[in-house]
């Protein structure tokens, strides 16, 4: 059996326990170094695991309980290239965040590092587990460490409120998942996904299967921040400290989408594939709503952290569309997009951490022109580059992934989908370019009726007292992440490997054969080819031009004295949308219930 997969979880957890036990006795720098070392070791293991998984899937049965008489007794980790890529992203982001902490986080207790390593172990396990209940356990581990880390630096009640909303909504999501797991366990009597699919194979889906899947969906969509389960996210991510936010935004939420893909493809597809077009339609519907609502809300924020929170939501919708296509290329595109986007989102969060310290705020109006000094040039460059990355500039990582989704959507007959995704991509990227232009170049006016500013009428509080508390060196991890995100496209045969992996990911009979019967497919000799078409170039050109144009228009607009017609047309619906995001837990739970009902109803209609 492959030995690496369990190690990627055991190593960070062992070091977390070690730091918790001894952290108060050893110097703070040593604690930080130990944490960075543990994260580096984990990342190295994850890359080794990725390389191994390219030849065939790695299946590790815990306790040595391989299937007996073709029945799965134990807990299984399955590592295919798709999972392995996400695991690598988890490791790389954690490494970058902890490195940022070396410069950026001074007076924090050792508990922070222990929690971060436990968080790493939780996410690593969540990405690999192929057992329904084990997925739930790692979901909880990831969430619980997240609740603790969210309240880091309790400077205000809004931090606590964000953390509370996060904890409560994710817990409700977890109970939905558990109810869904109970239902399917009652039907199939098993928890291993492959074993569940064996029980379900050939049966006609009924309401139990549908509700069970929908409940699991509700839980993971809540974690991932899909509309209308996303309301907690803008509050929680906007208050999270930079290194923690980089992890939440970069990968934690998108792992929720991955879990949905895996649970569908390796388990429920055995019976739900008879209604696959409807499943596809429902997932893409949720994805499009998420991408659009997230983009509009993103554009309407003045606080860069809240912009990023909604950008995460919007881009999550794009990933869900890629997964929802239920094709190898769509799956590959979504995975690579998650990876490339994670690097850039992580870089932006770390840069925001730097900006908040050196410039003293995170509101683009408060910061207007404050970043014009030469020593802020690296941060400005990072912002600009990230904005272009979000705009899927042709030739680089995000664009490669977006073109996979675009080609796959066209091939699957969803020709209307790419244009919608272009708009969402352009709007979110424009938002970041706009705030970058305003902060680092001083462009644009100092107010805009369309944007929600966290502190609208407060006077500026002046320059921060200790300007040089954080050195520019702390931007190095962000820079490294940007290089990784952009450069991903140049990894040899990346799209080919990913597409092949995506096909295998959706190949349920093949998966059952290898897991239950131990029959592995022969190694693939010819990878599927990927060539960017004219459509892909047009996609990238449209997103880039749209983002730049919209950013320029928005900056120019805020300079204009009269806002006549546009205000009257755009503002009222935007106000309504913003009012819906009330930040009240009761409203969030109500929306969640409504969303769950809608999904159940869609499922029930499918069965008719």
């Amino acid at each position: 059996m492959p030995v690496i997969p369990p190690l990627t979880v055991a190593v960070p957890l062992a070091f977390a326990a070690f730091l918790a036990a001894t952290g108060s006795l050893i110097p703070r720098r040593a604690v930080t170094l130990t944490a960075i070392g543990a994260a580096a070791a984990t990342t190295a293991l994850q890359f080794a695991q990725l390389v191994q998984s390219l030849t065939h899937d790695l299946n590790h049965w815990f306790g040595g309980w391989t299937p007996q008489h073709h029945y799965a007794l134990g807990i299984l980790f399955t590592v295919d290239p798709i999972d392995a890529i996400l695991a690598c992203v988890v490791g790389v982001l954690m490494l970058a965040s902890l490195s940022f902490s070396w410069w950026g986080i001074r007076d924090v207790s050792h508990l922070y590092y222990a929690l971060m390593l436990a968080f790493l172990g939780g996410m690593a396990g969540f990405a690999l587990s192929a057992d329904l209940f084990d997925i739930f356990v790692f979901f909880e581990l990831m969430s619980v460490t997240g609740y603790g880390l969210c309240s880091f630096r309790q400077t205000s009640s809004s931090v606590m409120q964000g953390a509370l909303n996060f904890a409560i909504m994710n817990s409700i999501g977890a109970f939905f998942i558990l109810m869904g797991i109970s239902l399917i366990y009652g039907r199939t009597g098993s928890l291993n996904l492959a074993q569940i699919s064996v029980s379900l194979r050939g049966t006609h889906p009924d309401m139990l299967v549908v509700v069970s899947f929908v409940f699991i969906l509700v839980g993971f969509l809540t974690k991932a921040g899909a509309v209308p389960f996303h309301f907690w996210m803008s509050d929680a991510y906007a208050v999270a400290a930079a290194p923690v936010g980089a992890l939440y935004a970069g990968i934690m939420s998108d792992l929720g989408y991955h879990a949905i893909a895996r649970i569908y493809a390796d388990g429920y597809a055995a019976t739900l594939d008879s209604v696959a077009p409807s499943v596809s339609g429902i997932l893409i519907g949720v994805g499009v709503a998420t991408a659009v609502v997230g983009a509009v809300m993103c554009f309407g924020q003045a606080d860069v952290k809240r912009q990023m929170a909604f950008l995460v939501i919007s881009h999550g919708g794009i990933f869900l569309c890629g997964i929802g296509l239920l094709t190898g290329a769509g799956m590959a595109g979504a995975t690579l997009y998650v990876a490339a986007d994670a690097m850039i989102k992580g870089a932006v969060f770390l840069t925001i951490g730097y900006v908040v310290v050196t410039l003293g705020a995170s509101d683009e109006f408060m910061l207007r022109g404050r970043g014009r000094r030469r020593r802020h040039l690296p941060a400005g460059l990072a912002f600009g580059l990230a904005g272009l990355g979000f705009a899927a500039v042709p030739g680089f990582g995000p664009w490669l992934s977006a073109s996979l989704i675009q080609q796959s959507a066209d091939a699957a007959g969803y020709t209307w989908l790419p244009p919608v995704l272009v708009v969402a991509t352009a709007v979110t990227a424009a938002t970041l370019l706009r705030s970058g232009g305003r902060i680092f170049l001083g462009w644009g006016g100092d107010r805009d009726p369309l944007l929600t500013s966290a502190q609208p009428d407060e006077p500026e509080e002046g320059e921060p007292q200790e300007e040089s508390r954080i050195s520019t060196v702390s931007l190095l991890p962000a820079g490294a992440l940007l290089v990784a995100g952009f450069g991903m496209a140049f990894a040899p045969h990346l799209a080919g490997y990913a597409t092949q992996a995506g096909r295998q990911f959706l190949d349920l009979p093949g998966y059952v054969a290898e897991v239950i019967h131990g029959r592995y497919p022969p190694p693939v000799t010819r990878l599927p080819a990927f060539h960017p078409t004219a459509g892909s170039w047009a996609y990238g050109a449209a997103t880039t031009a749209g983002a730049l144009g919209l950013a320029a228009a928005s900056l120019a607009w805020s300079r204009a004295r009269t806002h006549g017609l546009l205000t009257r047309v755009v503002l009222p619906p935007l106000r309504v949308l913003k009012a819906v995001h009330s930040g009240r837990i009761g409203d969030m739970a109500t929306w969640l219930t409504v969303g769950a009902v809608a999904l159940c109803a869609a499922g029930a209609v499918t069965l008719r």
Binding site: L111, R153, Q154, G186, T590, A596
Partner: protein
């Protein structure tokens, strides 16, 4: 923790937060609440209907024939020599879930400490008696050892009879709670140094991980058994389940103890004479 420190979430403004009373804030109109309850009510009825519809698809109560559970009931004792099959599942067949569960508990303790300790400054010379009465003290003094023994017994026989690391661990931690009732705060503080319990908790948690690694090293599977199996129904049975059980008991005991301790610290602060922040 100064505002504007690196990684600070929301900077500078709202320094006067803690002074703001509940009445300074706009109240949500009752109309908004009514609308919310109405929408929720309608949605919840439908959701409940769907849930019930799904639940009727289950085998009727008492007629369950799940393959997984039946298989383990049949082979569990023979394969694992643990007379309590639930124990064998918790620590072996699904022992990796329990590893995750240990760390959920572990992380929550650290999270709670992380959330609460940030603003806690208790001075040792402050008058910190909990103000309990004498009869309570007697109950605590007599109860603590009894509960402690009960907890250890529960933990020890986890794979033979009902019980195990988790139940025993919480019981042991409750003995610590009784100790608090039976003594003054300052003595309690001295008797239970948090660093010691941090160390025990970390040791228990890492022991679980390391036992798993030994299995990986010796037989190539994480958490695989590596001890002789012994006779079912006795303490000398079930192989490395015994070790895992004690690792869990240590971790759970220390974790719950620390958890209770954090909340005691909060409770203590409600007494007059405690200096805050």
């Amino acid at each position: 923790m100064t505002a504007g420190a690196p990684g600070t979430a929301v900077p500078i403004r709202r320094r006067d937060d803690h002074r703001a009373g509940p009445d300074d804030r706009p109240r949500q109109s009752t109309g908004g609440r009514q609308l919310r309850v109405a929408v929720f009510g309608a949605a919840a009825v439908v959701l409940g209907g769907f849930l019930l519809w799904a639940l009727t698809g289950l085998p009727s109560f008492g007629d369950f024939h799940g393959e997984y559970g039946r298989l383990l009931n049949r082979v569990g004792v023979a394969q694992r020599r643990a007379s309590n099959v639930v124990g064998a599942i918790v620590f072996d067949y699904r022992g990796f879930d329990t590893l995750g569960e240990e760390f959920i508990l572990f992380s929550s303790v650290m999270g709670v400490a992380f959330i609460l300790r940030g603003s806690l400054r208790i001075k040792d010379q402050s008058p910190l008696d909990p103000g309990g009465n004498d009869s309570l003290r007697v109950v605590g003094t007599l109860g603590a050892p009894v509960v402690l023994l009960l907890g250890l017994w529960l933990a020890a026989y986890g794979y033979v009879t009902p019980g195990g690391g988790f139940q025993g661990g919480v019981a042991v931690a409750s003995a610590g709670a009784l100790l608090w009732v039976s003594t003054t705060y300052r003595d309690y503080h001295r008797l239970t140094p948090p660093r010691l319990f941090d160390a025990i908790e970390g040791f228990g948690a890492s022991a679980y991980v390391l036992i798993g690694l030994v299995g990986l090293g010796l037989s190539g599977a994480y958490l695989a058994n590596f001890l002789p199996l012994g006779t079912p129904g006795t303490l000398a049975s079930a192989g490395s389940i015994g070790l895992l059980n004690w690792a869990a008991a240590l971790e759970v005991g220390a974790a719950n103890f620390l958890l209770f301790r954090e909340f005691f610290q909060e409770y203590i602060q409600t007494f007059p004479g405690v200096e805050q922040e």
